[in-house]
């Protein structure tokens, strides 16, 4: 199971038959494992890793650090539920340290992100304060280096 997950993490487009060859398993066995991982909710989806800089309109990414007043009975769950329901929000994490929720958002412009923070996020009642950090450059995403300059092999052929 772990070996299948490792392969899919590296390249989610590998077919079951390719994975079967790579792992020395039967294709039917790989199919069963993948199906089980999906059914159990271990695999939640498959996405492309995109270098947005190559697109005509580069979106704006921001990390919004939120301090939150947890609710007596629900802790952070209630506010997390509300934040993650907002479609601008890409990822939400509960953090240890100086702030509570890390909210990653993607917007078309800085203005759009600013509006989102001002009008939708900071107005939620449990949010005590927000601090917005705009991403200037994305170098590596999900383990993949985005810049595709010189990837030539540094090794010398000696024999």
């Amino acid at each position: 199971m772990e070996d299948v997950l490792k392969l899919l993490t590296q390249n989610a487009r590998l077919t079951n038959s390719e994975m079967a060859v790579l792992l020395g398993k039967e294709e039917s066995e790989v199919a069963r494992i993948v199906e089980k991982l999906q059914e159990d909710g271990v695999i939640k989806g498959y996405q492309a890793i995109i270098n947005y800089e190559k697109l005509p309109h580069i979106p704006v990414f921001a990390l919004i650090e939120c301090k939150v007043m947890p609710k007596a009975e629900y802790g952070f769950q209630e506010i997390a539920d509300r934040v993650m329901a907002l479609e601008e929000v890409d990822s939400v994490y509960l953090m240890a340290g100086n702030y509570d929720l890390a909210v990653y958002v993607k917007g078309a412009t800085m203005q759009e992100v600013a509006n989102f923070v001002a009008k939708r996020l900071s107005t939620l009642e449990s949010i005590l304060s927000t601090s917005t950090r705009f991403v200037l450059q994305r170098y590596k995403q999900n383990g993949v280096i985005l810049d595709d300059k010189d990837i030539r092999d540094p090794r010398n052929m000696v024999l």
Binding site: L22, L23, D153, L159
Partner: protein
């Protein structure tokens, strides 16, 4: 008077490598995908590099003892015993060398006399044969075949033995074929060797890269063979440490003493910093080997599967990190195949005849490259084969 440069007679007899000529062509292409190099694509595991850094920081940059740091020889001794059930005394039966290449060269230099015959199993690493010429000895080639899984058969060996036979080079796991010799195969060879006074040089540099169920067996562990075998190995392949230049030879005291004498005058000692890194590799590197081997194994299965689907005949390699498909069905010879593949698809593989005449009709594909890289190369090679058959 004008200076006159007279080259060593033996060196003049050494033919330039086919690989060199081929690489010159390959260098002209920019978008090339090369499956040619014979070294791991992994970086040396961090803890091993750190041991090297610590040695530098602490200024451990002096010559080591001629035979190598005793602590390293002790580790090698323990490792050889634990992995291959062969026992060598750290003080007298192990020599640390500049890569296993030096170990092979020292063995030749100390054991061969002009006219001696050296039996070389081919296709194999392209260093064995020219260096025999350099030692003034005579290489006798034993060809191995795809149908035998490129194993050395006892009857083939017997056929080539004469009163001048001094040394048998046993290159398993084998570069470029990926062949291995199992215990039963080695026992059959040992039976032939026992009837002679020959020695064996067993190059076990790829010992850790064995993908069969049973791990590598050293011929030195077969009864009666230890006293006539020089095992050469090193850190390059198992621990991805090619640039550190560190290897070793294990053999009976008398042989190691003679090799040490030569090594002392020619080399003095292997790089000291690398030796400290080597100690760390042997102490704590077993997990790294397992991880790298499993990665190589995936690539190996993938390439073999793709080659078979292309309609090529291909022995399933059991060791090292090479696949050696038979390309004779394409109607091209090894060099034509490689040159056309390079020119038409910008994929570089090595012509099989670089590893001896018996490699003609084959090419060597290295899988010490990322899977992504390999997939792209196989796609291009598949197109190439399809286009060939359409003509």
């Amino acid at each position: 008077m004008e200076p006159k440069v007279i080259f060593n007679q033996h060196l003049k007899n050494v033919k330039p490598s086919v690989v060199g000529k081929f690489l010159e062509i390959a260098n002209e292409y920019k978008e090339i995908i090369s499956l040619s190099v014979g070294e791991p694509d992994f970086q040396t595991p961090w803890h091993i590099r750190q041991a090297g850094i610590e040695a530098l920081e602490q200024g451990k940059t002096f010559y080591s003892p001629v035979r190598g740091l005793l602590a390293l020889r002790q580790e090698i001794s323990d490792y050889m015993f634990q992995r291959f059930e062969t026992q060598y005394q750290p003080k007298t039966e192990i020599l640390v060398t500049v890569g296993s290449s030096e170990a092979i060269e020292m063995a030749y230099r100390t054991l061969l006399n002009p006219g001696d015959e050296v039996l070389i199993v081919q296709p194999s690493y392209l260093v064995y044969e020219p260096m025999v010429y350099m030692a003034g000895a005579v290489p006798i080639i034993i060809e191995t075949f795809e149908k035998d899984g490129f194993r050395l058969k006892p009857e083939q060996l017997k056929e080539k033995i004469t009163s001048k036979s001094r040394l048998l080079i046993l290159p398993y796991p084998c570069n470029p074929t990926g062949a291995i010799m199992e215990k039963v195969d080695l026992e059959a060879i040992a039976e032939v060797i026992r009837e002679t006074d020959m020695l064996i040089l067993s190059d076990e540099i790829y010992a850790e890269l064995n993908y069969s169920e049973i791990s590598h067996v050293s011929i030195a562990s077969i009864e009666g063979m230890r006293e006539r075998t020089i095992v050469t190995s090193g850190f390059s392949k198992a621990f991805a440490m090619t640039g550190w230049r560190i290897g070793y030879a294990c053999a009976p005291e008398e042989i190691i003493s003679a090799m040490t004498k030569y090594h002392q005058y020619a080399i003095m000692c292997a790089p000291t910093v690398s030796q400290f890194a080597g100690i760390e590799a042997l102490k704590n590197g077993a997990g790294d080997i397992v991880a790298m081997r499993s990665e190589y194994n995936m690539r190996r299965r993938y390439i073999v599967d793709r080659l078979l689907k292309m309609g090529l005949s291909c022995y399933e390699p059991k060791g090292a990190f090479y696949v050696f498909p038979n390309i004779s069905s394409t109607g091209l010879n090894s060099e034509e195949f490689c040159e056309k593949l390079l020119k038409q698809k910008q994929v570089a593989v090595i012509p099989g005849n670089a590893f001896g005449d018996s490699g003609e009709g084959f090419v060597r594909i290295s899988y010490s490259f990322s899977l992504k890289h390999i997939i792209e190369a196989m796609n291009r090679m598949e197109e190439f084969i399809q286009e060939l058959s359409q003509r």
